[in-house]
Amino acid sequence: MSAVGLAQSLWLLVAALGLALAVSYAGLPMLGQSAFLAVGGYGVLLLGPGGAGLPLGVAAGLAVSLAAAGGYLTALATARLDGGYLALATWTLAWLAQRTLIAFPDLFGGTEGITRAAPARLVSRTLGVQLTLTDRINLCLAAGSCLLILAALYRLGRGPAGLDLAGLRESPGLTASLGVAVAARRRAVLTTTAALGGLAGAGSAVLLGVISPVDVSPLLSLELLLAVLLGGTARWWGPVLGIAVLAALPGGALAPTELGGAPARAVLTALLLLAAVAARTVLQRRPRHDLAPLPGRPSELPPPRPARRGAELELSHASVRYAGVTALDGVSLTLRGGQVHALIGPNGSGKSTLLDVLAGDLDAGTVRLDGAPHRARSVPDRVRAGVVRTPQQATVLTGLSPARQVALGARGGAGWPQAVLRQLFGTPRSRQQAAELHAAVADTLDVSGLSKLADLDPVRLTAGERQLLQVARAVATGARVLLFDEPAAGMTAAERGQLQAVLRRLADGGAAVLIVEHDLRLVAAVADRITVLDAGRVLATGDAASVRADPAVRHALLGVR
């Protein structure tokens, strides 16, 4: 293979690796990579020497920034769309880009595209260096970019920062409830993917000196997707294999269009994609690194237990009406640090609604955390303020080992760009943090009685173990106020015992704990205070003995007159 051909393949690998970050790591089906290649490729040729006349390096930088900005805008515009519709929107972008190039021939040269025959030179006046960008140097740049990105993906998958991506892939909603700013992560991923697409487009356009709509057609988006799928989404080196296979195929994706002709190339791509879909295990295999034990050793020092002291969550005068039904009617409730508070009542009495209001998911009454209004905007912000809740049904993230799920909660709020960069460079500080995280996870698992299950395949957990894991994830966030919705559902007697111990230990550590629970035996054993809800009103509140003696409670719950 010639230097030009190899460099061309390597630039496509750059684009495919960027796509793998979105598709394989973050689970975002992005189909618009060809549009970002177009931005990069046309950008550098239009802005650079022979076009707007900017120095080549500046033009390339601008073109890649434009592509990145496009990725950021795409993420903003699709922020509330789920998988299929994200695919639809980005697929539309791919076609929009190509048809726009054809629709404005004065600007983009129509179907012929644009050509810059002048030899590309990188000149730095300040350093007094002049470098002619030969094919060989372009090849070195492409190879260097590939190696850097591969190293970054390898490290990202292993270390803590990559956990956020796995959470985004497995369940964005749950990941947000653990304090991870999923919307920001999604923007970061799509921006990076687009920037790498732009880099690939700029690199290959400079290499070939020409770019046309055929080079960045939506077919290229599908070929890059195919490259990611062919190599398997489960491994960081998957795209390398995929691009290698495509490059090796005669008349395949990377062959010049004149040889095989566009239809042959398209038929091959379509058949290979169908084959990849038929071999479903390839698509659905879970990334290995996400099921592996946490890397490194836990630090020797005992982990710093989060300070949960002094929390007080106070709700006053909350009323919620759904169409025709009064779910809550002027409910006031105070959760104090150091206490386990149980919320009981018949089905439909408003327990889950009350939990929604306390967590801040539903706006009613006034909620004060330690005397200050608890009015953080997003779910992750509320978790960082110190209030976490679990959903009623145990959600299991099948693609992440239990230890990593707990780690996801433990590092939820950590800032991302710095953390990622530190991890990529493997700074001593990042290793220190990883060791501390490891220790914190081990401690949380120990407290929850899940140490033996730390690295088990999550699909093999029993219903009760899933509930305990759910509690452990929430505990790991370090929140001072913990709201659990029926945590004991599906638990064996032994697991209930474990849960009881966890709740007690949390309260003894100073946290304010609320459980919604039907099992009155568990409630009697663990609760310091009990609130009974009936038809949206507080029937009684107090310690276990006084509530049990309350005639209204006996009437409502036991039917005793």
């Binding site: 689970g27 089906p29 539309t92 398209a266």
Partner: protein, 306 residues
């Protein structure tokens, strides 16, 4: 008063919009029941008419008038091709892994639908390599009025084809909606869309209903192919943009709402025609793409099932 030219533009837009409505109806039906976006749907529309033309006319089609038997064969083959290809896509890509449709971010049906559409385009591209083809009109709608033009009071004329396409498109769209509301099949469709497990417990097979939805969508796609083809020179590659325009119509009307899909089609068709009239023919294809991105960005709630 609306000028004659603008009236013709709007009418042509409405006619194409009625066709889009049929495509959008199928899109919304499949997206509603299987919660799978039929990425190959537009290709099936264009593919069905080209398959039928290949079989009846051959590799060098012209807009020349067909004999009676040829017309009937073309109509039947086109409808059958739409159903067959749509059923094939369902059988090969969707049904083997129906459960994955409920999983977030499942790649298999997205990649499968895109691959099926690409394969259809590529295979047809082998036999029909030209940029675009003028196709015969087996329904002979132009023959309904002298010169193919309908004279309006006031002296202006409108193409009779556009009026008929609009009428047929709306009629079939409303018929399909009525069928889905009244019939037993329609009830099962809504049951599966709401709760596939609950429907299965009541004896409604999700697989059968999803397959039925794909077949019905394919039939509508075939009809849309018949109606849209003679109106303009058609390229094998036009299917994707047509499908995306229909997706825009379906999202505009709210996914799962069939009446919304028909209405959305009229809106998209009109916008498309007006954009091309005002800014140049290049915008005929750009307008629906921009519209789809805009609707998805501004009204994401429309993608939630209703």
């Amino acid at each position: 008063m609306i000028s004659g030219v603008l009236l013709q533009v709007v009418l042509a837009g409405l006619a194409q919009g009625a066709v889009l409505g049929l495509v959008a109806l199928g899109f919304s039906l499949v997206a509603g029941t299987a919660r799978i976006l039929p990425f190959a749907h537009g290709d099936i529309v264009v593919g069905s008419i080209f398959l039928a033309v290949l079989a009846v006319v051959g590799r060098t089609p012209t807009a020349a008038r067909l004999a009676g038997a040829g017309s009937v064969a073309l109509v039947l083959l086109c409808l059958a091709a739409g159903m067959a290809v749509s059923g094939l896509v369902a059988g090969l890509v969707v049904l083997p892994d129906l459960a994955s449709a409920r999983r977030p971010n499942s790649l298999s049906w997205i990649a499968g639908g895109l691959a099926a559409g690409l394969l259809l385009r590529a295979v047809l591209g082998f036999y029909l390599p030209q940029q675009a083809y003028a196709l015969p009109d087996p329904l002979r709608l132009d023959a309904l009025a002298p010169g193919g033009l309908l004279r309006l009071p006031g002296g202006s004329t409108v193409p009779v084809r556009a009026v008929c396409v609009l009428a047929i498109g709306l009629l079939v769209g409303l018929l399909a909606e009525a069928l889905l509301i009244r019939s037993r099949f329609g009830a099962s469709v809504r049951a599966v869309a709401d709760d596939p497990v609950g429907a299965a417990l009541c004896g409604v097979s999700a697989r059968r209903v999803v397959f039925g939805a794909f077949l019905l969508a394919g039939l509508l796609a075939g009809l849309a192919g018949l109606l849209t083809a003679p109106g303009r020179a058609l390229s094998v590659d036009d299917g994707v943009v047509l499908g995306l325009a229909a997706a825009a119509a379906a999202v505009l009307g709210g996914i799962g709402s069939l009446r919304g899909a028909v209405a959305g089609g009229l809106v998209v068709g009109t916008v498309q025609a007006l954009a091309a009239y005002a800014f140049g023919s290049g915008f005929y294809e750009l307008a629906p793409l921009v519209l789809l991105v805009a609707v998805l960005a501004l009204r994401p709630s429309a993608t939630a099932l209703r």
